[in-house]
């Protein structure tokens, strides 16, 4: 990595940004989301916070412009291809500002120029990083096809930004100074929790999650806090109740109910509010069987079930291996897809046929990803 001459950086930790105009290539909400997500990758490894302003001056002014004269700076744009965007080092006036070439086709996919990916690079400049010579770094100046399954910051980018903004000041003291980013195709991939959500499958790992639609090859990778800011990182279990458009998240002896992107007031609540005895300290994994209207909660080598129709919880837990032959130990995560259950145990995944009551396939944990 490298920084600008004189190493300019922001003297404050809370920075404001304003989107001056929108590209017609995307809906304004999509532009807002891409920009917010681009800032969030930098805030995830620094003490910086970014606040959107809708009027007045802001530290980082963001605009879309065509050609050279229309956006009044020293670096003209050049039509489709070539230069796609540029941004200025921290400072007054034009300092920190990011300009995007409207002649590009801005997308939220892997086609054209992915706005999130380009914005993340440009905001690296806005924060004080100059171009990197490492071809794997986000700050390498050549655009390469966006891969949504990979966290865009390379260790070189993290080292660079943390040389400017002290990572020791990150709010959560349990976070490591140099975060280890999960590799979706690595042999050691494990999950904290897995659930369906509105037709997609969501895989949780520490403070990130992957989202995958079964019919689409690509997989998206995001920060949990970007969607659900009040949820803790490293959830133990999660399951969806599709007919209520709800997800229940579990961590320790607490749970949260989420409706879409919002957590209604009153959460977290203690586990016993669901009907568990008070000695149940943690749920390892859970799923909801839509056909039976039953939720299943796994803890150590046992499970509890809750019948939604009768609103009754099992009085006693049962052994997992008795109801799910072939699943013999503690479960990390489980979800239901079509008529199968997918159990995760460490680096293994078991496909379990609910009708035949047996394990039908042994899969790798990265089975759902395009590895």
């Amino acid at each position: 990595f490298s920084t600008f001459a004189g190493e300019p950086k922001w003297a404050k930790q809370v920075l404001t940004y304003r989107i001056l105009n929108y590209t017609p290539d995307l809906r304004p909400a999509e532009v807002n989301a891409a920009i917010r997500k681009a800032f969030s990758i930098w805030s995830s490894v620094t003490p910086l916070k970014f606040i959107k302003k809708d009027r007045g001056d802001a530290d980082i002014m963001i605009s879309f412009a065509t050609g050279g004269k229309s956006h009044n700076d020293f670096i003209p744009f050049d039509g489709p291809g070539g230069s796609v965007a540029h941004a200025y080092a921290p400072g007054k006036d034009i300092g920190g500002d990011a300009h995007f070439d409207e002649d590009e086709t801005w997308t939220k996919s892997t086609e054209g120029a992915n706005l999130f990916y380009v914005a993340a690079h440009e905001f690296g400049h806005s924060l004080g990083l100059f171009h990197s010579r490492d071809p794997n770094a986000l700050m390498y100046p050549v655009y390469r096809k966006f891969d949504p399954s990979v966290f865009p910051l390379h260790q070189d980018d993290i080292n660079g930004i943390q040389s400017l903004y002290d990572s020791a000041e990150i709010k959560d003291p349990t976070e490591s100074k140099e975060p280890v980013l999960p590799n979706s195709c690595g042999p050691d991939l494990t999950f904290d929790a897995v659930t369906t959500f509105r037709g997609e499958i969501i895989f949780f790992k520490d403070k990130h999650f992957w989202r995958k639609h079964p019919a689409v090859r690509e997989v998206d990778f995001d920060l949990v806090s970007l969607f659900w800011p009040r949820l803790p990182s490293g959830v133990d279990a999660a399951y969806e109740i599709p007919e209520e458009d709800k997800i229940l998240f579990f961590k320790g002896n607490e749970f949260w109910v989420v409706k879409g992107e919002t957590i209604p007031p009153g959460y977290p609540q203690k586990l016993y509010a669901l009907g568990f005895s008070k000695d149940v300290a943690k749920i390892d994994a859970a799923f909801y069987d839509r056909n039976k209207g039953k939720a299943y909660y796994f803890t150590a080598d046992k499970f509890w079930s809750y019948d939604k129709r009768n609103q009754s919880m099992d009085r006693k837990p049962r052994l997992i291996k008795d109801a799910f032959p072939g699943i013999n130990a503690k479960v990390d995560a489980v979800f239901q897809h079509e008529n199968f259950l997918y159990f995760f145990q460490g680096r293994k995944q078991f496909e379990f046929d609910s009708d035949k009551k047996k394990v039908t396939r042994l899969l790798k944990t990265n089975f759902w990803f395009p590895c």
Binding site: I75, V84, A85, H86, E104, H125, V142
Partner: protein, 80 residues
Amino acid sequence: FPAHTGQKKEEGMQLIQKYLENYYGFKKDGESFIWKSNSAVTKKIKEMQEFFGLEVTGRPDSSALDLVQKSRCGFPDVAG
């Protein structure tokens, strides 16, 4: 029909020159664009090839030409 290599070479040089002007602060010296091993353009191409981890030849070879035709951040690679 074989490509007109002379014309292709000229186009490649123009691409490289434009690229160096945009991102490496290169200014063409005088009217003619003369190719010499110690010319300013050779030095700038070497600088560019070194930055991108390409083989440093000082010539607009295929890897340098490939690179200048890719989309990129429009911020010049000269920090000052």
